[in-house]
C-alpha cells in the first residue's frame, strides 16, 4: 500500500477551504492539476533572479535564462525518454496538435507530410476535441478523408475493423493514450504495428498519460506525442510536442518569427536547427522552468508510485460506485487498462446538478461533455460527472465523494 499523504502539505491550495467551509476535495485533475509549492517557486524564482530573453543577449542574465530554459528541456526530454532536440515547448497540448496539423498543411507535394484527396486520417470516437477538430479541419483543407475507430458500449476502442481502417491510404493515425472521459487506455501496440505496416504516422495525445504513468517515447514506438504541463503539476501556458528527429527535421515549421530562422531576407527565409525551428519568439521561459520543477517533483515521488496510488483510489471508487443504486459508471469498471478517471451518471439527475450539490460539500468534480461531444452522443448520455485523481488525493476523498453522491440523490429525492 503506497502512502503519499505526506505530500499533501506541498500543495498550498489544498490548505484552503471552499464552499460551505469544507476542505477542498479536488477531483478535477483530469482538467487541470494542482501545483506543489516547488513549482510555483521555480516560476517566481526565474522572474526574481534570471529573467531575460533566452538565446539572444550577450549578458549574464541571458546566459542564465538560456541555461535554465535549456536545462528544463533536457529534464523534460529525459522524463519521456526522448532526445533533447526532439522535445519542443509549446503553450499546450492543443497547440502541439494544431502545430502538427498546420505543419502537414505547410508541406510540399511529394513530402511524406503532404495530404491530398484520397488520403485518410484516422482518429477515434473517444478523442478530446483537441485531437479531433485539428484533424477534421486538416482533412477539410487538404481533401483527405477523416475516419475513426468506434467505441464499444464498455467504453473501449473497437479495434475489430482495424485492418480495414488502417490501410494503404492511411497517412495519419491520431489517437488518445487514455480517454479523458472513460479512463480507458488505448492498446497501442496493435495500432502502431498496423500503422507501421502501411507507413502511416502515429500521433499520440498523451495528455492523460504522461502525468499519471510512465511514458517512454522510444518504447511506445509512436511518431509524435503531445501533452500539457498544467495537468502534470506544472504551470499553465506550457505544453510539449515530441517527435522523431528525422520527422521533425523534414517537417516544415508552424509558427514563424524570431529565433526559429537560419537566415532571412525580405523575399525568403530558411529555418534554424531543431528544436528552435519550432519555437518562434521569446518562449514561455518561466513556464518551462516550472514544468521542469514539476518533473523533478514527480521523479522524487516516483511516477510508478503515483500510478499505483491512483490505481488504489480508482479501485476503491469503482467498488463504491458499484454498490450504489441508480449510479452507472461510464467506462471500464475494472482496473484492466484503465487510468484514474472515472465517469458516471446518476439516474434522474443531470450531471450539472450532481456537480453543483457535490460542490456544496467541497467536492470539485467535472460535469458535462468533457470536450468529447461525439463520444457523449455515441454513448447516448447528455454528459457525465467525472472524478479524476492525482497524487494528492486520498482514500478519504473517495469516501467523501461516495457520501456526496448519496447526498445528491437524497437532495433531489430520486428513488434509489
Amino acid at each position: 500500500m503506497i502512502d503519499l499523504t505526506k505530500y499533501l502539505e506541498d500543495f498550498p491550495i489544498l490548505q484552503r477551504t471552499v464552499r460551505g467551509g469544507n476542505r477542498l476535495v479536488y477531483l478535477d485533475s483530469g482538467a487541470t492539476s494542482q501545483k506543489p509549492e516547488v513549482v510555483i517557486a521555480a516560476e517566481s524564482n526565474f522572474y526574481r533572479k534570471h529573467n531575460s530573453a533566452v538565446h539572444r543577449g550577450a549578458h549574464l542574465l541571458a546566459e542564465e535564462a538560456s541555461l535554465a530554459y535549456e536545462s528544463a528541456r533536457e529534464n523534460v526530454a529525459k522524463f519521456i525518454g526522448a532526445e533533447i532536440v526532439e522535445t519542443i515547448f509549446t503553450k499546450s497540448a492543443t497547440e502541439s496538435i494544431n502545430a502538427l496539423a498546420y505543419s502537414f498543411s505547410n508541406s510540399e507535394p511529394g513530402s511524406k507530410f503532404h495530404l491530398k484527396s484520397g488520403d485518410e486520417i484516422l482518429v477515434s470516437e473517444m478523442e478530446h476535441h483537441a485531437n479531433l477538430i485539428p484533424w477534421q479541419q486538416l482533412a477539410k483543407r487538404t481533401g483527405a478523408k477523416l475516419r475513426w475507430f468506434e467505441v464499444t458500449p464498455e467504453g473501449r476502442l473497437d479495434l475489430s475493423k482495424i485492418s480495414e481502417l488502417i490501410n494503404k491510404k492511411t497517412k495519419i493515425v491520431a489517437i488518445t493514450h487514455q480517454s479523458n472521459v472513460l479512463g480507458s487506455i488505448t492498446p497501442l501496440s496493435k495500432i502502431t504495428a498496423a500503422a507501421k505496416s502501411v507507413g502511416a504516422i502515429v500521433v499520440l495525445d498523451a495528455c492523460q498519460s504522461v502525468p499519471h504513468f510512465e511514458v517512454n517515447v522510444k518504447k511506445l514506438d509512436v511518431d509524435f506525442i503531445a501533452f500539457s504541463g498544467h495537468k502534470m503539476l506544472g504551470p499553465t501556458g506550457i505544453g510539449v510536442l515530441w517527435g522523431r528527429q528525422s520527422l521533425l527535421e523534414e517537417m516544415p515549421p508552424f509558427l514563424f518569427g524570431g529565433s526559429m530562422i537560419d537566415s532571412v531576407t525580405m523575399e525568403q527565409s530558411t529555418w534554424a536547427e531543431l528544436p528552435r525551428k519550432f519555437e518562434a519568439g521569446v518562449p514561455n521561459m518561466a513556464q518551462a522552468v516550472g514544468l521542469s520543477a514539476a518533473v523533478d517533483y514527480i521523479n522524487q515521488i516516483g511516477i510508478s508510485n503515483i500510478h499505483e496510488h491512483e490505481n488504489q483510489l480508482t479501485k476503491a471508487l469503482l467498488a463504491g460506485l458499484a454498490h450504489m443504486q441508480g449510479v452507472k459508471v461510464i467506462g471500464p469498471t475494472d482496473l484492466t487498462e484503465r487510468g484514474a478517471v472515472v465517469s458516471f451518471t446518476v439516474d434522474g439527475i443531470h450531471p450539472h446538478d450532481v456537480g453543483q450539490v457535490l460542490d456544496q460539500y467541497g467536492i470539485a468534480v467535472r460535469t458535462g461533455h468533457h470536450c468529447a461531444w461525439p463520444l457523449m452522443r455515441k454513448l447516448n448520455v447528455v454528459g457525465t460527472t467525472r472524478a479524476s485523481f492525482h497524487l494528492y488525493n486520498s482514500i478519504s476523498d473517495v469516501e467523501k465523494l461516495l457520501e456526496g453522491i448519496a447526498q445528491v440523490q437524497s437532495y433531489f429525492k430520486v428513488n434509489k
Binding site: 464552499r19 460551505g20 450539472h352 446538478d353 453543483q356 458535462g368 437532495y411
Partner: protein, 144 residues
C-alpha cells in the same frame, strides 16, 4: 443551505413536470440553441400572431435549472403581447446579472423570481438563460 437558494422547490417542480414540453407541429419559427460548455440543448417552436405570443412548445436536454427555466418562461410569455414579453425577458436577464442583489419583480416574473438565487452561481446563469435566449431569437425573427 446555500444550495436551497439555487434549487427552489418551484424550480424542481418545473424540472420534474415541465410545461409545454414536446414539440407541436404548428409554429411560425423554430430555433435550436445550445450551451457549448455543458452540452445543454433546447429546440423551441414559436407561434405568434398580431404581435401576440400564441404558443410555445419545446424540447431539450439539460440540467434542472435550464429545463425549469424554459418551462417557466413558456408559462410567462404565452398569450402576452410581444412588447410585454420582451419586458419580461429583460427583467429576467437583469435579475440573472444581479449577483444575488436583486429579488426580481414578482409582478412581471411571477414564479420565475425563484431564479434569483441562480445569479449567485455564475456558472449556472447561462443555464437559466438558455431558453430565454432561444425565445429572444425566435420572437425577434418572427417580428422581423
Amino acid at each position: 443551505m446555500e444550495l436551497d437558494s439555487l434549487y427552489q422547490e418551484v424550480i424542481l417542480d418545473h424540472y420534474r413536470n415541465p410545461h409545454h414540453k414536446g414539440l407541436s407541429g404548428e409554429f411560425d419559427v423554430q430555433v435550436k440553441h445550445n450551451n457549448p460548455s455543458c452540452g445543454d440543448e433546447v429546440t423551441l417552436n414559436l407561434s405568434i400572431s398580431n404581435g401576440v405570443i400564441k404558443g410555445i412548445s419545446w424540447d431539450g436536454v439539460g440540467c434542472s435549472i435550464s429545463m425549469a427555466s424554459v418551462s417557466m418562461m413558456s408559462d410567462l410569455v404565452i398569450d402576452q403581447q410581444y412588447s410585454r414579453a420582451v419586458e419580461i425577458l429583460n427583467q429576467f436577464t437583469s435579475l440573472m446579472q444581479s449577483k444575488g442583489q436583486s429579488k426580481g419583480d414578482e409582478e412581471l416574473l411571477e414564479d420565475a423570481v425563484a431564479f434569483a438565487g441562480v445569479s449567485k452561481f455564475p456558472a449556472r446563469i447561462k443555464c437559466a438563460l438558455l431558453g430565454w435566449m432561444a425565445f429572444k431569437d425566435a420572437s425577434s425573427q418572427a417580428m422581423e
